[in-house]
Amino acid sequence: MTQLTAVLAVPTQLVHLSSIDIAIVVFYFALVLSIGWYLKGRANTGEDFFMAGREMTAWVAGLSFLSANLGALELMGWAGSAYQYGILATHWYWIGAIPAMLFLALVMMPFYYISKTHSVPGYLKLRFGEPSRALSAVSFAFMTVLMSGVNMFAMAKVMQIVLGWDIHFSIWVSSLTVAIYVTLGGLRSAIFNEVLQFFLIWAGALLIPILGLYEAGGWTHLKVLIAQRASEQYVHLWSTLGSFSNNPMGINWVGIVFGLAAVISMGYWTTDFLVVQRILAAKDIRSAEMAPIIGAGFKMLVPIIVILPGLLGLAVLPEKLVPESIASVTGAHSYNDVLPLMLARYCGPGLLGLGVTALIAGFMSGMAGNVSAFTTVWTYDIYRPLIHRNGSDHHYVNMGRWTTVIGVLISVGTAYLVMQFASIMDYVQALFSFFIAPLFGTVVLGMLWKRASAAGGFWGLLCGTLCSVGMWTWVKVDPSALRYVAMSPHAKGLAQDMYQALWSFIMCVVVTVVVSLATKPMAEVELNGLVYGLTQVPAVGQVPWYEKPVFWAAVVGVVFVALNIIFW
């Protein structure tokens, strides 16, 4: 998230597109609109429009699940982080994602799926009642649409910096395209385009590490070059995490393991409806379990197109990239320019167009994810229970279509607001992070502990969120307070995110447990299908062992451990 702010200040245009590059970009827009147009007749019922008919295969749901998270700013921001912090940035792709995805697949997905909920707030309604759903749905809908606007502005700014495109043109063309294809085809259209975008991102970005490694003389020689130009610390994943002062990120292993892996990543990948919605569209329970596992398999590969270009930039770029604060004053290139710079370094006519298309595709898939998730939560978790209870299915589909358009327009409005008041961006990003950790605490306790009561769930969620807001405000007012939040005078910004999440999760769990024990438990009959121990978890069917989710989760788990040891 912090990368978003940073992509906003370099005044020079980095690359120039040829006519063939522009043809590739135009073809992309034509294709995504064609897909939306083709699917418009298949989004007539609520199940079709909001849940893609619940007929997605494991592969489609899994790639869409990953693609919704693979935004352009994510690609550029983490490539910049790899340049700045070295291979430590890989933690956000491996331990900061893989265990959570496997946990979602094997532990949580059966409950989401068999409860037939339309959304994560919908599960909270079933488990903890209306107040918890309302708190979660309102905060999610509000923040999702604001984040979409912030991303839109940041991406338009990137297009202005990289390509010299007019910022208003970028905002309106991309947002109207997303609005059209999601309004026409609903979630199915969003998912189809996300899978397409997944392939384009790989096709456009994979050449950079291939040619970069060739130029650097292979991985071994790349490490030597990085040690010469930066530090040997930049190529170790774990061995420098013994203390805050021993690595360029200013974080220790406790923050990575307990803050990032156990709380933030678990919260994001298992309760953020933006990604979970894709899995809920799976056609059966086996596909719903396999989808996150397939996503995890590909997630482990994403550092090849994100982290490796950043590391290669350290080794082969003739200039030294600088922090955004210096770049904005001197006009030099910042860390966040490393991916476009590497793109311009290796990609000639045609390839450059594909690379730019990959960035645009990444942005649009993220925006479509935000808009479709917002539409569903607004319609099913706010409009239907709180405003208009007894509408027909057709009425709610129409509401979904209008909400898509309105959501995009609010996002555009937010983008223009951010254009006027840049500091809003920091606040919106911070607000989004407030809800993730406590929401995970509430949902996981609800699924695993039958004694958790409705009051416990609500107050735990509220107190965890307030705890997060309180710590963020404390550090904002007094930056030296970070030493108390992260428990070290050497802690830096990213450590704050990890420890803030950890404390708010702990607060949520403690309050939920205390309040639950002090209040009346829910009747067991109400919890059937929602809580472990009271639910017959459905089997994945009669399939050979090599088609079972647990087998592939084990394969992904073994590869994940091996990668961490190899790059220790």
Binding site: Y28, Y38, F199, L351
Partner: protein
Amino acid sequence: MISIWFFIGISLAVNGALILAAGIYQLISPPANPSVVLFNLHANVWWGALLLVVGLLYSLRFAPKR
């Protein structure tokens, strides 16, 4: 319903064809001062060809008539 994999095949094939065409053009009449490093590898030729082949395979395998 047309498979998503067909759309992906079309996308890769068209992009591959355009990139390959640009690469062949540069192979025939190379620029005096190439704007990219490793120009001698002619990445747009083999990468474009690879995308074209993969795209065609997907398009044929998942063509609507099947």
